[in-house]
Subunit: 406 residues, 2 copies
């Protein structure tokens, strides 16, 4: 085991160059390494080509002390990561009899005889330690090169993640970087950035990363000690207050569902322009049924009238995209048997806008046993952007109402 500071990642696979498929293994590895104080300084994708792999590993090993290679460890002829890495290190490949026996045993357990090509997976680069793969066939390999190391991992994310957690992390030393993510909703990135910019100076610009979603903003804080992290979190929380809905892995739908559960309320939704996005996001949370009753996708006005009881006169006089209709929809959602109703109606575009109600106009309403809250937005961007902003700002309005802060 060594102590590493600079890591590089190499994803092998022609599909990463020829198709719209993106490597996401590097994200997992980077975040795991960061937690050990190891910085990812470079990542690459190359095709299934022995010479290209050899070149890349040589170059990366000249600059990083830990090189993580994913993919190209399977049994087929285009899986040439073993050969490429051996070439880069000037080492030989040899058939490991014990590994071969384990592969044969694995196939036997699956009730199949091992195809002859599968023996390729039993070849090790000289000096490699085998990293067993409990979730698949191809094992990983750990190679020390002086004080540096090269790790070979399969490209299937769940296999890579399991081997990394079980066998790579224990081999990595270093001082952990502490990371805290503060999650903000109901504000735009530029607004958040402006309010916290003085804190960049105070703590150091490189200690804060701001990431904009559609309707949510994440502030990622990096610190070397827990007291530093606490001071940072305290300062950012003081500035952003109730705009922060949670920390780290928490999601806005989770927060909303938890707030509903703590009141013992059920929620019903009435969605027009978002067409089910809020329901879909809420039901992605396991156990959503404890606080989410369901709702209505009131895309056509006929559904607003028939299922939600919105009056035809209101629709005719105020229009479907109006405060009054949003409020009537929220009340209609409650009437499905919920204490709380959330309604969204808007113009997502690209057509359907008018001078008075341009594309991006969205009305949101929340009804509870004691109040009826409304907000009105004019979002910019594509149809999908307007819809995602509408869904997230609506969930955030509900969060604030449930927190007594709307």
């Amino acid at each position: 085991m060594g102590t590493f500071s600079r890591a590089a990642f190499l994803a092998v696979g022609s599909e990463l160059l020829r198709t719209p498929r993106l490597d996401t293994n590097s994200l997992f590895v980077a975040s795991q390494l960061a937690a050990c104080g190891v910085e990812m300084t470079e990542k690459r994708c190359i095709g299934d080509d022995t010479q290209a792999i050899a070149n890349a590993v040589s170059e990366l090993l000249s600059r990083a002390d830990l090189v993580v290679v994913s993919g190209g460890l399977g049994p087929t002829a285009d899986d040439v990561t073993r050969e490429g890495v051996a070439a880069a290190l000037g080492r030989k490949l040899h058939l490991d009899e014990e590994l071969l026996a384990r592969l044969q045993e694995r196939y036997r357990r699956l009730g199949r005889s091992m195809p002859s090509i599968a023996a390729r997976m039993a070849f090790l680069v000289e000096g490699a330690e085998v990293l067993p793969n409990p979730r698949g066939t191809a094992p990983g390999q750990w190679l020390e090169v002086g004080a540096r190391a090269v790790v070979l991992l399969p490209g299937v994310p769940e296999e890579l993640q399991t081997i990394f957690a079980l066998h790579v992390l224990p081999r990595i030393g270093g001082k952990p970087i502490l990371v805290r993510t503060l999650k903000v909703a109901g504000r735009f990135e530029s607004e958040v950035e402006q309010r916290v910019s003085h804190l960049y100076h105070r703590f150091g610009r490189e200690k804060v990363t701001i990431l904009a979603g559609r309707g949510t903003v994440e502030l990622v804080l990096y610190a070397e000690t827990s007291s530093e992290l606490e001071a940072m979190e305290h300062a950012f929380t003081e500035v952003l207050g109730e705009d922060i809905f949670g920390r780290d892995d928490v999601t806005l739908p989770q927060v909303v569902l938890d707030a509903l559960k703590s009141r013992g309320w059920m929620l019903a939704t009435a969605e027009s322009c978002t067409g089910g996005m809020v329901g879909s996001a809420l039901t992605q949370v396991p156990g959503a049924s404890e606080a989410y009753l369901g709702g209505v996708v009131a895309y056509a006005n006929a559904v607003k009238v028939r299922v939600l009881g919105v009056s035809e006169e209101l629709l005719a006089t105020k229009g479907a995209v109006s405060r009054e209709v949003a409020e009537a929809m929220a009340l209609g959602a409650c009437a499905l048997g919920a204490q709380c109703g959330l309604a969204i109606t808007g113009i997502a575009g690209p057509t359907g806008g008018t001078a008075e109600k341009p594309v991006g106009t969205v009305h949101v309403a929340v009804a509870t046993p004691s109040q009826l809250q409304h907000r009105h937005f004019r979002f910019g961007g594509s149809r999908q952007t307007v819809r995602e902003l509408a869904a997230n700002f609506a969930l955030d309005l509900l969060r604030r109402v449930l927190g007594g802060k709307a």
Copy 2:
């Protein structure tokens, strides 16, 4: 203008290494280049570091004849792509007076005076041609290095794409590769792969890429001539038949909405475990309102009873996840005022499964004026996977019913 065959892509930006943000510019550039017969052979992400940029550009230029660099062209101190590329090529940077005047003019039009740091964007690498940026401030740069070229483009996707289309494509020669994507639904990847594997041998394994989604599979065919592409498409279509729902950029919701429109039918949805995902996917298509009425997120049984008219007895005797309830939900959806009803009920997990109805059990039903169709699935995977599979297999059942092939 040269003729290029091998391209490499370099994304510059520390956020691409330190945060979960992925570079997607390389996907756009790779597909555009492929259409010109230029193959992407490598892509990399590195941080905002002059030396790292210089190393990467030197290495890439030794292997590729076209190097596309994105990001790091802005005005701030960490935008050092210009410096890194100049170092790699052994060239100087110089202030371009004409470019500076254009930048000042741009700020004037926006009603602001140009901040002094913005002058950084007027520096050119010796020998560069300016690639004007109609959508932003930082221009691109085109640099010839013998018969090879390095292109610098801003990292903002819409700016990069515009400059690429206007100023890079016209400078690239080569023989286009023809690409056709066949889109399959209602089948799993392994099944599709098995059925088409003999065609891999016939046309060449490297001419076909298979991409699995959740409930859809894409076959990407590459050819050098249109007659070759036609022959490939014909052969794959013969094998896959009605499992192919469309080509190239078409989506399953679009195909379903078009089939509804051609019959003059309106659709209503009744979603339980998918919680609005089908409604959300349908309403993502502009003009969905011509064929989609809306629907019900019938998450709780109370909503199934109250809004969809499912009988309490049926729920008690058959269970919410059953053929009978799915069919009753589809009929209940029609009763909202639609000719066609689509219903989904299932157990997405992670809890809620039983021996008889394990997690992943999903019932789908389609009702039309003349028929009632049902299908039953047992999907594997996470909650989100089960939900996405359920939504796509449900849309596909509807597609087949509308096409008269279910």
